[in-house]
Symmetry: D3
């Protein structure tokens, strides 16, 4: 009985990317733990940039300063 919650900053995640995350997390968990996928739920929650704080700053402020969360 796995349940997974994925929280992300709301920065243009597409419907297709969400499907990739849902399929990928479900496959990973059901394969690693030998679980029935029909007992596996994955919920994605997007969070506005004003509502996610990192190191004491709103992400919206960090983005205004040009600081991204992208891979280097």
């Amino acid at each position: 009985m796995p349940y997974v919650k994925i929280e992300l900053t709301r920065e243009g995640v597409s419907r297709e990317q969400k499907q990739v995350l849902i399929k990928g997390v479900t496959d990973l968990i059901t394969n690693t733990l030998n679980k029935d996928p029909h007992l596996t739920h994955v919920v994605i929650q997007e969070i506005d940039l004003d509502d996610w704080g990192y190191a004491g700053e709103q992400t919206s402020v960090l983005r205004e300063r040009g600081i991204s969360a992208n891979k280097k």
Copy 2:
């Protein structure tokens, strides 16, 4: 001190249904555990169909295929 979070797919839950859930969960918990209702909070969170995955598929895709979550 009970706190309850109810996550549901966003599929037309009415204000009245939410009130039934809040009243019912509060009564159930306070009666079963003999708790003061003034210490009992219930939070409902509706999740868009693109954001809830079941068995590796977005619920929005399942609904397009005619697969519902209704009782049989």
Copy 3:
């Protein structure tokens, strides 16, 4: 697709009480929203009294002072 999380202070909740909560919440939600119970998960999480704060105090301290969460 409902998922419910019930957080409670750890104060001697029995296995039977947990079963009453799980059955009761599942029946309430599936009847109110006409949902398939096989898509309904309920998770109970007990929290130690040192870890639950109310009005700025640890519940363990409130209990030592004779303040309970019981119904009046």
Copy 4:
């Protein structure tokens, strides 16, 4: 590695108030536990008044009756 979730009723919390909460919680945790702020995330989630139940009633109903959550 602290992660903090703050759930609030949606009642006009401003961007500035959110920043005060994010900065304050981050400072409190990193100072109390000597943690690196770059490992500290704070997420704020506002909940509609119909979706937050207290003592078995929707907060929206309580507000209509003139019952607020303000300090006395």
Copy 5:
């Protein structure tokens, strides 16, 4: 800024399986969304079988009846 919570029934998940889940979820999210892994946290929470309800029954009761969550 992704944060992921994985809730599982406590049924003998090994340290190595947890590492596979953590590495796999982190890679999936950072590759799909082009996110910095140093901003990605994954938390696993195991839930006792008495505390996870499915279709109105405790998982511990389902297991006693020989009903598993394994893949078919």
Copy 6:
């Protein structure tokens, strides 16, 4: 109606530190938002080092390598 969840790695947080966190978060929120502290709950959840992943690695592995989360 604020509810706050603080998730921390389990690394020797004392009862007194928890009280400082509970009092501090409650004061911060009730002062910033002018909320009644009797409607404010704070829950602390400690997570085992094997169960918290950062940048794709278990925190227990990071600690074995001498990588801490302490302030610099």
